[in-house]
Amino acid sequence: MTSAGDPLDLGGPLLRQLERLALRVRRPVLGQLGGGRRANRPGSSLEFADYRTYVPGDDFRRVDWNAYGRLDRLMLRLFEGEEDTCLNLFVDCSRSMAWGKPEKAWAARRMAGAFAYMTLCGHDRVSVTGFADGAIGHLRPVRGRAAALQAWRFLADLPSSGETRYDSISAVQVPAPGISMIISDFLTEESADRAIARLRSHGQQVILVEVLAPEELRPTIAGDIALRDLENGRRVELTATPAVLAGYQAALDAHVESLRALARAHDAGFHLAGSAEPLEVLIPQTLRRAGILA
């Protein structure tokens, strides 16, 4: 049951679990502001981390002149980064998401809300973008646990319309570096390849979460039927024989495998989530698949 303070109906037990998870998340990334955890890349704090060879464009103030004297080479001093991270949530708001029991859109938004809350509890920032055939809505990066409600309301108010266009993600400016999580059903002819590549080029660690309804994972249709695509209206006439259902299952497996391969190609994480799966299970699983949670 939703309420004004919990528009995504996440519930107290889940929120407490998310708070605990926030402490266990590893692989911090460098950010612009000092965050609540170590970055896994050298930063500008006072704790020495390493040297590296100078390349044109580096800040001269970080050149270790003593090392230059000993080695006759320009070396840059690197420090451990105590900086914040921004989690960029891209939530598919196309019409195909507004389908299923439970509805995929609702599951995706609750999932996004849960990740946002966990991130905000870790003193990191969160941005949210709803997309379909364009950016439907964008919540600029927020931080602090108090911003969680804002993020939840934003997610809850996102409409469902249009077709999925992953290129619309590319149009969104994301704070770099950071974590970008695309939550979608990925059921479209268009590949997310270019969008992921662009995010990666902006220093984003990418996580793909495919949300499918139970009816999509294990269809139960029977007999002669014509299926109409919610997004593009295309019809498919079929007789739901076991052979056809088996064919669907094979197509689904191939589809999931192609997404997994895409994720591997971009060093991204991938997780297939059922819209009926409880978030208490789904969130840790997703984080582990992405290598964020030990």
């Binding site: 389908w99 299926l227 109409r228 695509d229 079929l238």
Partner: protein, 606 residues
């Protein structure tokens, strides 16, 4: 094979309908789905957008067409005819009449009937009984109700086709008695349906099935042979009939006393007949005509006749004057009639027949006698009185055959109701019997009225009646007459005879008992040919001959399509009455099997 429900073949429209459905796309209910991306990939080869699609021969289509075909096959109820069904008690009647020897089906109708019965016996189950009845001129139970196949097969194997006719009515009576009160009795008749006439009211209390045996009615036969050996005439006539539809050619050969004396070639159109005459040589005795050429029935291809003048019989008419009787007796060429006045009557043992008109001698002769108008008190005769319209006591009495009494009037007759004459009434009126006939102690006929008080002598039936009566009183007179196979021949010893022997055509001699001069029936006349009768007596040996011919009504061999029994529980027809082994259960099972395979193919990919 036959189809019990041929109109169900209309269901065959389902076959083109199935093909049509394969041309037409199914109109499917529409349902929204998040994305059809994966479904399109799953059914890539299974969809088309046009309402019509190219017919693709698939295993499913073939199986569905096969199922429809089998279903139609089951609906029309194909069945194989089987030779009669069996019930708890099956009475099997096998026709052994002459026409069953016809070879229009190989080897013969009789053998085909026997084969069918043999097949039927093979299907007798435990607890079932079979009675076997042979239907010849005198039907008999060949094997009484039994479930033991041994005696039944033996009895069946012992059956032989006869040259006589089939007495269906007697056979049905036997079947009725053999069936008793059992409710599970069934009567099967294996016959060509050519039988003696059956009264319209004939019925059976059991289901009756007629199994027609025989195919064709094509037959060429000698249906009549008439000899006129009298001096000055000496001619033989033969009638050859083509009882079929096809034109036939035949050669007629005449034989006299075993020697071939003439031959004629004949061409006879279908349903036509030819009469052929032949001049008899002097002294001819045994004459036969033979048709050469194969046809369906051989028995009627030969006819026999006796040309010898019969033994002359002496008849003494004792009367004051009765020209009617005298003339009627003199019509028979073998009778020599002597008229004697009552006062001149004196018994003569050489006389073969006495006719007493208006008197009864004090000592009645032990000779066949005919008494007319007996005096009051004789044979217990009462007073003369007026009588009503005369009629035959038994309409089917052979003595009254061709004698019409409807226009006959009798003014007065002695009251014979209390007569001591004995015997049975031949003609009667409402007032009692008018004519009595007896066999014991001496064959005799008693007319209670004076012929002059009646218009009977003026009717055409009178000489016929006199001929019948004289033949009955003098049955040994076989003369030129020919008999049908199995027709009983009455033999009586001539005056002073001590024994009668009949030698059949096959040479076998049979002694006939003629106790006390009473006539004896000789019924071993199944074989066509000449039968020699020999009587030994004090006066020596008297020989006579009679012939038996198979031709005649038995030559019409076209099998009957049905036999009607008026009140039988089940009418007989070769198709409706026959049992069938229906094939639809097998076809229905095949439909189920095909549908199962179709279901499996459908659900595991085509």
């Amino acid at each position: 094979m036959t189809f019990l429900a041929p109109f169900a073949a209309i269901a065959a429209v389902s076959i083109p309908a199935i093909v049509l459905l394969y041309f037409l796309k199914v109109r499917r209910p529409e349902s929204d789905f998040s994305s059809t991306l994966l479904w399109r990939r799953a059914v890539l080869d299974r969809q088309a957008n046009a309402p019509w699609q190219r017919l693709r021969v698939s295993r499913l289509l073939i199986l569905q067409l096969l199922a429809a075909l089998l279903l139609v096959g089951a609906l029309v109820r194909p069945a194989l005819a089987i030779t009669g069904g069996l019930s708890g008690h099956t009475v099997v009647i096998v026709d052994t009449s002459a026409t069953m020897s016809a070879t229009d089906i190989s080897p013969s109708r009789f053998e085909d009937a026997r084969r069918q019965v043999r097949d039927l016996l093979d299907r007798v189950g435990s607890g079932q009984r079979v009675t076997l009845i042979e239907m010849g001129p005198r039907p008999r139970i060949a094997a009484a109700a039994t479930g033991d196949m041994g005696p039944l097969r033996t009895a069946l194997a012992a059956l032989r086709p006869s040259n006589g006719s089939a007495a269906l009515q007697q056979a049905l009576a036997l079947a009725a008695s053999a069936g008793g009160t059992a409710v599970d009795t069934r009567v099967l008749l294996f016959s060509d349906g050519i039988t003696q006439p059956v009264p319209a009211a004939t019925s059976l209390p059991y289901p009756f099935e007629y199994h027609k045996v025989g195919l064709s009615g094509e037959n060429l036969a000698i249906t009549s042979l008439v000899l006129h050996p009298e001096p000055g005439v000496r001619t033989a006539f033969v009638r050859v009939e083509n009882l079929g539809r096809q034109k036939q050619h035949a050669d007629v050969e005449w034989r006299v006393d075993g020697r071939l004396v003439d031959a004629r070639a004949l061409d006879i159109d279908g349903a036509g007949a030819r009469d052929v005459s032949f001049a008899l040589p002097a002294g001819a005795d045994k004459v036969s005509a033979t048709l050469r050429g194969a046809d369906a029935l051989a028995a009627d291809n030969v006819a026999y006749g006796v040309a010898t003048q019969p033994r002359t019989l002496r008849v003494t008419l004792v009367t004051a004057g009765n020209i009617f009787v005298q003339r009627a007796l003199e019509l028979r060429p073998d009778l020599r009639v002597t008229v004697v006045a009552p006062a001149d009557y004196k018994f003569d043992s050489q006389v073969d027949l006495y006719v007493f008109d208006g008197l009864v001698p004090a000592v009645q002769p032990a000779t066949p006698s005919w008494y007319l108008n007996p005096p009051l008190g004789k044979f217990g005769a009462g007073k003369q009185a007026g009588v009503g319209r005369p009629r035959a006591s038994r309409p089917d009495d052979p003595l009254m055959r061709d004698v019409d009494l409807r226009e006959v009037h009798i003014a007065r007759s002695a009251d014979l109701r209390t007569s001591t004459f004995g015997g049975r009434a031949l003609i009667e009126s409402d007032g009692g019997p008018l004519v009595l006939v007896r066999d014991e102690p001496t064959r005799a006929v008693l007319f209670g009225f004076d012929l002059h008080s009646s218009d009977l002598p003026l009717r055409t039936g009178f000489p016929v009646l006199v001929d019948h009566l004289s033949s009955d009183l003098l049955p040994v007179s076989v003369g030129p007459r020919a008999y049908h196979p199995d027709e009983p021949v009455l033999l009586a010893a001539a005056a002073g005879s001590t024994g009668v022997t009949v030698t059949r055509p096959d040479g076998h001699a049979v002694k006939v008992a003629t106790a006390g001069g009473a006539p004896a029936a000789f019924d071993d006349t199944d074989t066509p040919g000449f039968y020699a009768v020999e009587q030994r007596g004090t006066a020596g040996v008297a020989r006579s001959t009679f012939a038996v011919n198979a031709g005649g009504s038995a030559s019409t061999i076209g099998p009957r399509e049905r036999i009607e029994l008026v009140s039988g529980r089940r009418q007989a027809a070769p198709s409706a009455g026959r049992d069938f082994s229906e094939l639809w259960p097998w076809l229905a099972a095949a439909v189920l099997l095909v549908l199962t395979v179709e279901w499996l193919v459908f659900h595991h990919g085509d």
